[in-house]
């Protein structure tokens, strides 16, 4: 009983801060989502409209399209590819050949460059590379692969892969370096034992390496979901949610409704939907990762 009181007392300041800086804004956002508050009417406030904003959102013709973009392109595709490329690079950097050729340190340093590049700068660099007279078009034309420049960020056939490419360039290094650290914790004896048992390379990877990496992959995967699902910068700066609304995602829709259409109430409703989805992922994270860590600690 005394321990419980002590723990509660120690946690109290953090709880107060959480309530002040997270709880209050969330509840205020929830309140605004039930009003028709406009950016032009901030001085007088909004009128209570109940669930009207939510009804409009769920019945909007664009909603399914925005959800698809957010879940499939922005989140699922980018997270899966990020993990696959990250794992591939980590395995490559961990090979004996890289160590023998003394390339491991150089490669790690090279990986840090895209990772240390702020997303805004990364998007601007890639916009230059992908534009009509940019390096990518020039190179493809030079190699004879295309005859006319491709509008990578405007053509509906190439725009999503281009955005995902920018995201990967900027974020894969972190995944790769994290997985590389995990790889280096796998005891060498396990590999020796696998070799003695006659395991193939694939079997060694499947039954020795992967189990060691799984906790890291799980954490990085879930964190990537959080970073991607809420992300605004890559889509907004690369395409402005266009062409048309082709690359519109929940985060850009929040911005468009709040600061282009001035509908803060409606925009808050979208924000609440995003918060609920993120909350679900948060619970998953707690169940899969945090709970395990807590059990290990105790």
């Amino acid at each position: 009983m005394r321990d419980r009181l002590f723990i509660t007392t120690m946690l109290l300041p953090s709880m107060v801060l959480l309530v002040l800086f997270y709880g209050y804004p969330i509840f205020d956002n929830l309140r605004i989502s039930f009003t028709d508050l406009s950016l032009l009417g901030m001085k007088k406030g909004g009128n209570w409209v109940g669930l009207a904003n939510y009804r409009e959102l769920f019945h909007s013709g664009e909603f399914n399209h925005i959800l698809f973009n957010t879940f499939i392109w922005l989140t699922a595709t980018s997270v899966v590819l990020r993990l696959l490329f990250g794992l591939g690079i980590a395995l490559l950097l961990n090979t004996r050949a890289m160590r023998v050729l003394r390339l491991a340190a150089v490669s790690r340093f090279a990986l840090l460059i895209p990772w240390a590049t702020p997303p805004i700068v990364a998007v601007v660099i890639w916009r230059f590379l992908l534009e009509r007279n940019g390096f990518v078009n020039d190179a493809l034309i030079g190699l004879g692969l295309i005859s006319q420049p491709i509008a990578f960020l405007a053509d509906i056939r190439t725009v999503w892969p281009s955005i995902v490419l920018i995201m990967l360039w900027n974020t894969v290094p972190l995944i790769a370096l994290s997985l590389l650290s995990s790889l280096q914790t796998v005891p060498e004896e396990y590999y020796e034992a696998a070799e003695l048992d006659g395991a193939t390379s694939w079997q060694t990877f499947r039954f020795v390496t992967l189990p060691f990496l799984m906790p890291a992959i799980l954490v990085l995967g879930l964190m990537s979901v959080f970073w991607s699902f809420n992300n605004f910068v890559y889509v907004w700066l690369a395409t402005g949610a266009g062409p048309g609304t082709f690359t519109n995602v929940l985060a850009t829709e929040v911005y468009l409704k709040a600061f282009v259409d001035f509908r803060l109430g409606y925009s808050s409703a979208i924000g609440m939907v995003m918060a609920v989805v993120m909350g679900a992922f948060g619970i998953l994270y707690l169940r899969l990762v945090a709970q395990r860590q807590l059990e290990e600690t105790l």
Binding site: K43, I156, G244, F246
Partner: protein
């Protein structure tokens, strides 16, 4: 005792002295300007020289964020004293209580030729009839042509109909391999398709938003009108005379478009005069001594219709300013003849008396010809749907149609439904 008295006297003198210095401190007002600093730096320095009791602190912000930022700040008692805003924002800013009514200032201390001398006065009023902005600069859009490319394609006169414009564009592309009418077809919320779409509708005597005789507002277009405009611009994309990559460009001053005109890789463009001036300058820098092969001309129109807008900027005073008199003094100064004659030469003044004195010169002849066939945004700005919403919805709908995401019919229906939903 004497020592104490002396110390007291010294302290009093010090306090009085400090107060004297404080009284001499200039009042600082902030001016938020949305274009380049060098355009107004000279004018501000001159103002401070003439008014040593007022210090002007220049803040800069991009046009894309200017309106939202100002509204957000004004709602919580913050923001610059004077702000540079688009003409079409003034009504809604006044209605939001973000800006100060200027009626008293205009009555007590008016500009030399009075408020009646200013263009776009209708856009300066709030719905309560008060004046919330002083028109500062004005401009219009017109067409710009590379005469050498037109000649190479066998075209010897500028087009006067939309059909001829398309034919000329196609001819340039087919005969020279260069882009014809290269317009920014991107769908950014504040892009240029909005202008081109409206110019097309206006030239046909129609408008997206109209005010009825009883003062109420309505949609002025049928789906077929929207489809016609979309199909018109889409043929440039489908025909290849406007490169597909221009789907990624949203502004008239997009570097790809400006560069294509300067280097002779594009024959036709649509833009405001300051962008055209930049193109002329870039050409002159790259080709010293050579006659620039450019001409400007109005957008196609009928004798009784308009085909471009009287656009421009206004200056507003923040409702939260603590120095309204100094702010007004600065606003009045910035709209004066001396500023436009000596410092702010990239824009045209909004006062009709000053506008008449301008020699547009041969390259800008088309802009001068366009002015009589230009209109203000009128009902668009005073109507019930924020102009930013109309702009964004139009951009998105055209973006969807031009990129082939949906058919022009579906995009047109969606656009009118989206705006119709927000009409009372």
């Amino acid at each position: 005792m004497l020592k104490l008295l002396a110390a007291g006297l010294i302290a009093s003198a010090a306090i009085v002295g400090t107060a004297g210095i404080a009284a001499a401190d200039p009042v600082t007002i902030t001016f938020r300007f949305n274009d380049t600093e060098q355009e107004v730096r000279g004018a501000i320095d001159e103002f401070q020289k003439q008014n040593p009791d007022i210090k002007v602190e220049l803040q800069r912000i991009g046009w894309k964020d200017a309106r939202n930022q100002f509204l957000r700040e004004a709602a919580v008692g913050q923001g610059p004293d004077v702000a540079h805003v688009a003409q079409v924002w003034v009504t809604e800013m006044g209605d939001a209580g973000a800006t100060l009514a200027l009626d008293d200032f205009l009555q007590k201390d008016p500009p030399p030729n009075g408020f009646a001398d200013f263009a776009a006065q209708d856009l300066a009023h709030g719905k309560d009839g008060k004046i919330y902005g002083l028109p500062w600069t004005t401009d219009t859009w017109a067409m710009v042509y590379r005469t050498d490319l037109l000649k190479e394609a066998g075209i010897d006169s500028l087009p006067t109909t939309w059909e001829d414009m398309r034919k000329d564009s196609e001819a340039v592309y087919k005969k020279t391999g260069k882009a014809g009418f290269g317009f920014p077809a991107g769908s950014s919320a504040s892009g240029a398709m909005w202008f081109l779409a409206n110019f097309y509708w206006w030239s046909e005597g129609k408008a997206l938003i109209v005010q009825k005789q009883d003062g109420s507002y309505a949609l002025g277009l049928e789906p077929a009108d929207v489809v016609a405009a979309m199909n018109y611009y889409k043929q440039y994309m489908d025909g290849g005379d406007n490169p597909q990559s221009n789907l990624a460009a949203s502004d008239a001053h997009d570097p790809a478009i400006m560069q294509a005109l300067v280097s002779g890789n594009q024959a036709m463009g649509a833009m405001p005069p300051n962008t055209y001036k930049e193109i002329l300058k870039a050409y002159a820098d790259a080709n010293p001594g050579k006659e620039p092969p450019f001409a400007s001309g109005p957008f196609p129109h009928q004798p009784d219709t308009k085909s471009s807008m009287i656009g421009g900027r206004m200056l507003v005073i923040n409702a939260n300013t603590k120095h309204p008199d100094e702010a007004w003094k600065f606003v009045k100064y910035m709209a004066s003849q001396g500023v436009f004659a000596n410092f702010y030469r990239t824009q045209f003044p909004a006062q009709n008396s000053l506008l008449k004195q301008i020699d547009f010169g041969a390259p800008l002849k088309g802009f001068a010809e366009q002015f009589p066939f230009a209109r203000t945004w009128g009902a668009y700005a005073s109507g019930p749907v924020p102009i930013g919403t109309l702009w964004n919805a139009t951009q998105r709908a055209f973006g969807k149609a031009l990129s082939g995401q949906v058919s022009t019919e579906d995009a047109a229906k969606e656009l009118l439904a989206e705006i119709g939903k927000q009409m009372p």
